[in-house]
């Protein structure tokens, strides 16, 4: 039994790592083709396999619409000169790209890709590590990726990368708070931190934001939609900020900082930053899908009709999960090419003054709604009134803080 589990874990690590890395490279082509569509261009659609350099007469063009482009991109990165400037701090300069890429890949370990498979008595969950602290694990490891970017900026030992590093450090610390607070109503709703259980609950009782079947049709769930939608909005926006994607890509803002923290990097070391950003985006989408849109579940009560534990059902669920993740990746790309970049003070105001308070109040609203069956409607009304007054006061303070004249500030 022990060895079976070990073998299963090894297979899962290999397959999920492979799937994630493939998704990363597919993301790059998605980004380029989708941005081309938005800007009314064609985009890279005709990359061929260069058989002519091997002596054949013609290059081989596969009819898959430029999907061979990632291979060409990767090859280009590997073959370019890996130039290390003489003035950098070498050890950290080499460490930084690894520290952006690795955390993003480790976090994939707790995401349930599909429903568990049953082999006789053995239940094999389709996550590498079926931890009881899933979302916390993801936040913890993802928070380590700050070091990569910050160290890259610092070790480059020149001005623009340094600014980029400092910016990203401040930005990621700020938005981690909003990220952590916004997810609390969701966890209160589920009452568990195990991502596998969270998805199972949603498969039986309606996705968090689409409660159309099972227990999802109760009045409580529909009232909970109010704080949950706010949660979803804050969470998704914070994920954008955490992954340094436009409209929050201040750390690599090319009009001000040349290339930001990776200005001094070239070749595969630059590519690791590039891919790390996409890996973070994938894990972000996976987390949003798992928490708010039912993870691997097909939805609308179909999961209950399928036999549990069969391997083909699990594969079907993996496919469903990857489809949802891809949709969210496309959403990320759509936002990047639609919304212009924020100014730095706007970014900080949004994080500290708007999202922080909103997420905090949101937690209390969710708690009140969940407490109604225990405390009765009268107490609920009184508490809600108090909460509204506090919200009003906070709103007034926040408004004056945003528009305060900047006297004495440096």
């Amino acid at each position: 039994m022990e060895t079976t589990l070990l073998i299963a874990a090894a297979i899962k690590i290999g397959v999920f790592l492979g799937v994630t890395l493939t998704l990363v490279s597919v993301c790059v082509i998605f980004e380029r083709r989708f941005s081309a569509i938005i800007q009314d261009r064609v985009g890279p659609n005709r990359t061929m396999i260069p058989l002519s350099i091997l002596g054949f007469k013609k290059d081989l063009a596969l009819p898959i619409g430029g999907l061979t482009q990632p291979m060409a991109d990767g090859l280009k990165f590997i073959l370019k000169e890996d130039f290390t400037p003489s003035y950098v701090r070498k050890a950290f300069f080499w460490l930084a790209p690894c520290m952006t890429m690795v955390p993003a890949l480790i976090t994939m370990a707790v995401v349930p890709f599909g429903s568990p498979i049953e082999f006789g008595d053995l239940v094999i969950p389709m996550a590498v590590a079926d931890l009881n602290v899933g979302p916390l694990f993801i936040f913890a490891i993802a928070s380590l990726s700050v070091y990569g970017i910050t160290l890259a900026g610092w070790s480059s030992n020149s001005k623009y990368p340094f600014f980029g590093g400092v910016r990203s450090c401040a930005q990621m610390i700020s938005y981690e708070i909003a990220l952590g607070l916004s997810v609390i109503p969701v966890l209160m709703m589920f009452g568990t931190l195990n991502l596998g259980h969270i998805v199972e609950y949603q498969a039986n009782n309606g996705w968090l934001l689409l409660p159309f079947w099972g227990e999802g049709l109760t009045a409580e769930r529909w009232w909970m939609l109010i704080p949950l939608v706010v949660s979803f909005f804050i969470f998704t926006t914070s994920i954008f900020a955490e992954t340094n994607r436009t409209p929050f890509d201040l750390p690599e803002c090319e009009t001000e900082l040349v290339g930001g923290y990776h200005t001094e990097y070239s070749s595969m070391k630059f590519a690791l930053f590039f891919l790390g950003e996409y890996a973070a985006m994938i894990i972000g989408s996976a987390l949003i899908v798992t928490l708010f849109f039912g993870g691997w579940s097909i939805g609308f009560g179909i999961d209950g009709l399928l036999p549990t534990g069969a391997w083909w059902v699990s594969l079907l669920h993996v496919g469903c999960f990857l489809t949802k993740v891809t949709v969210f990746i496309l959403f990320f790309i759509l936002v990047r090419w639609t919304v212009p970049r924020f100014r730095y003070d706007q970014l900080m105001n949004l994080g500290w003054i708007v999202f922080f308070e909103a997420a905090l109040i949101n937690v209390f609203i969710a708690a009140l709604i969940l407490a109604v069956p225990h405390i009765g409607y009268l107490a609920f009304g009184v508490c809600l009134a108090i909460l509204l007054v506090i919200t009003g006061v906070l709103f007034a303070i926040a408004k004056s803080a945003i528009h305060a004249p900047k006297e004495g500030t440096v």
Partner: protein
């Protein structure tokens, strides 16, 4: 297997601690402290305390040390000069850890530790008896197929039943400290001579 991981993570923690003191470069020191924290977190997880281990990384390695690194970079500190130790600092450096070690020893001596029980399905089911049957803790402990130690739920249960008042006091204390910091930093900003 387990003891191998224990030695690996202990080595990481101790090596991080030693490197923290040995490095002359402040950023290297800060990063070795992160290494030490990660090692500690691994030890906690090895003891089935997933929540404590993850919070160790989330709070210390992911937030506090990031702030340290941030400040070190902003201040642009240079490498530490080699300083001559005064005898008083050396004595203090020996006495304070000794006091701590003595206190830990005292606590261990006076503590009534129950006999070690490995986590198996039987011990988990036996432990489930002492919790209410419709609670999440009982459900997780007495689960038919995959019983697990619900460490997060247990910590929550302890804090919010036995230690609720201390928790509130600590919360108030932290709030006061935060407000104090804001007030102090605002005061210096106002008295600073403004640029023309």
């Amino acid at each position: 297997m387990h003891s191998l991981l224990f030695y690996l993570f202990s080595f990481l923690a101790v090596a991080g601690g030693i490197l923290l003191v040995a490095f002359r470069n402040p950023v290297s020191s800060a990063l070795s402290m992160v290494l030490s924290f990660v090692g500690l977190a691994g030890l906690f997880i090895g003891l089935n305390a997933y929540f404590v281990g993850i919070v160790q990384i989330l709070v210390y390695a992911g937030a506090i040390m990031v702030l340290f690194v941030f400040i070190i970079m902003l201040l642009d500190l240079n490498n530490e000069e080699k300083v001559k130790f005064r005898s008083s600092t050396v004595v203090l450096g020996i006495v304070i850890p000794l006091c701590l070690a003595l206190q830990i020893l005292g606590v261990i001596q006076s503590q009534d530790t129950k006999e070690f029980q490995p986590i198996t399905e039987e011990t988990l089911a036996a432990a489930a008896e002492s919790f209410p049957e419709d609670g999440a803790i009982h459900k997780s402990l007495a689960h038919e197929k995959t019983p697990k130690l619900p460490d997060t739920n247990l910590i929550g249960q302890q804090i919010f039943t036995h230690y609720n008042f201390p928790l509130q006091v600590i919360g108030a204390l932290l709030l006061v400290a935060t407000i104090g910091v804001v007030v102090l930093s605002k005061r210096t900003a106002k008295t600073r001579p403004t640029d023309s």
